[in-house]
Symmetry: C2
Subunit: 346 residues, 2 copies
């Protein structure tokens, strides 16, 4: 990735906290690069960063405006195009993870040209993708899966990376979404990949690995989400995970964006992912549950984690509130030799 | 579709009968438009059409060379580009269902221009795709599914259309692959759709239908094929089928292209498709098995159909050899009112 830091994070005017997932992820996992946030008049959300206009951010050293927002379909609104043009005129590059491409918007192409600025469409996929082959490959892989979209798969994966590295285990986050790619500096924007290449793209993202370390692959969607289950299926097959961690938001009233679809149970989610995953890795196991308890009181959250652990027989935690040590402990129990070999070589 | 008939069908030099599935489908279901076949020196396959060179075909009235071939990844070989250039110079248009686009090959663009010919990339997807919503919609839908890729899903669907129409039932083939699109004149090239839009593309291909008739949706891939199960999953969710017909090649030694993957059983295939399909249509049922018995003796084939019917409790037939009447009978039993209303209005 050639996207230049520091960043100004675009929050726009949305009132949906999940719509700014990308900006929040960057602020959390790359705080040194996030020097400010841009909030439109009437916008209700903040990441606690200094609020700046475009010229102000440029003066403070920002190089790139990150469109850290998500919306179904990923189109560019007129409001957004106006803001991007103003940012380019203030001498900022723009990086976007939306489906609609900056480069397809003539006003932005013109504004970039007249200011000598660059447009980065993070969802652009390389042209060297292959069809997946399902062949067993060396190395250990963990994949986060979920009961739904936007339940913490990226955050859980990043927390696992941080905590495994702290134990001296070789572990690398493999990004499959725009935020993850902006954080990791590379990855595959999976939901922009052509359908025939979903599993092959993941085989390329996480190839055979001989150092005994782990690839920690960011999951997408859910096998139970009628809009995106195809993506989740191909991702699971391509990842060939040895271990899955199931992510869940216990307060979610229904599948994201679909009031007519209830959430699946954790038991059904574990069972379905193991069943589908066994096609390419017959030995796949579940090693933990990651709960997003951000809207619960601490005692309530701890009780829920305990209850979930009892019900599933798996370590259950909120990675943000309580860390992921128990899940890594379980991975050490189940894959001890692999983890030990890393400890020795660390 | 503005592709002009009659066609010259390109077989090239391949020795793999399944690689010319597209050409064979056109010869079978649009015989009036297939006036000849082009076979390279050393090519071992034939569809029984008159073999012609490009100039000869043009003189016989052909308007378009159809690249009726398939290969993993769908690239254009140098050999193929040479042939296409010669066909353009002989005043034929070219239509292709391969992933690699004719329009991205400068030699072909130049040859088309100098001859006033056109290049059709059948896999090009419209820009108006939506994310699927999984909402129940009116109308009856049948989807063909399979134990593997290339086991007769398109052919079975086309035979069902023909036989249902012969009974006076409103029924329309909905194409999801390049051959089907060339036959139907419209459709969605599903394996070229961006991953996020798989189920949504099928919701658009087969929208709510109020006339009591059936949409017969061409299946793709297999839930058990590690390269393409994501496509099959999204297709199944988007189709919301009331009925599925399971297609199978009893002589297939392993999953297509993957010697390390055995075929699933019919029972597992039925069970998996019903389980995944229930997410968007809880009432989905299986109504028949379509076996490709082309390499068996007639008595052997009939015995296999009988045995398969006993084992699965479903009508089992080879659509090409024995027709699909039993499957439509079963559909009448299970969805009688709907079929009857069509008979009355027919």
């Amino acid at each position: 990735m050639m996207i230049k830091a520091p960043y100004l994070l675009y929050l726009g005017s949305t009132a949906d906290p999940m719509a700014i997932k990308t900006s929040r992820g960057i602020a959390m996992f790359r705080p040194e690069d996030a020097i400010g946030e841009f909030v439109r008049e009437g916008g209700a959300l903040s990441l606690g960063l200094p609020q700046m206009g475009f010229a102000e951010a440029a003066a403070a050293g920002a190089r790139t405006l990150i469109l850290g927002i998500a919306n179904a379909g990923g189109t560019l609104s007129d409001e957004l195009i106006d803001d991007c043009e103003a940012a380019l005129d203030a001498n900022l590059d723009i990086a976007s993870g939306l489906h609609s491409r900056l480069r397809d918007e003539p006003r932005l192409v013109a504004a970039a040209k007249r200011n000598g600025r660059r447009l980065f469409d993070v969802r652009d996929v390389g042209s060297d993708l292959r069809v997946g082959n399902g062949l067993p490959r060396a190395g250990r892989r963990m994949l986060t899966v979920g009961t739904d979209c936007s339940v913490g798969k990226m955050v859980t994966t990043l927390h696992l990376e941080r905590a495994m590295r702290a134990r001296g285990i070789a572990a690398d986050f493999r990004a499959t979404g725009q935020t993850g790619i902006l954080i990791a500096g590379s990855g595959v924007p999976l939901d922009a990949v052509i359908a025939d290449f979903i599993s092959g793209a993941i085989e390329q993202l996480s190839p055979a690995r001989e150092d005994g370390g782990w690839d920690l692959i960011e999951g997408q969607g859910s096998l139970f989400h009628p809009s995106f289950a195809g993506v989740s299926t191909g991702l699971l097959h391509g990842a060939q995970p040895d271990a899955i961690v199931i992510c869940h938001d216990p307060t979610r009233p229904h599948m994201r964006g679909l009031p007519h679809y209830p959430l699946p149970s954790l038991a059904d989610t574990i069972e379905a992912n193991l069943r589908v995953g066994r096609l390419t890795n017959p030995d796949v196991i579940a090693v933990g549950i990651a709960l997003n308890t951000s809207s619960l009181e601490r005692e309530e959250a701890l009780a829920l984690c305990r209850r979930t652990a009892e019900e599933t027989g798996l370590p259950a935690t909120d990675p943000v509130a309580f860390g992921v040590e128990e899940i890594i402990d379980r991975m050490e129990e189940c894959f001890g030799e692999s983890l030990q070999s890393n400890l020795r070589s660390a």
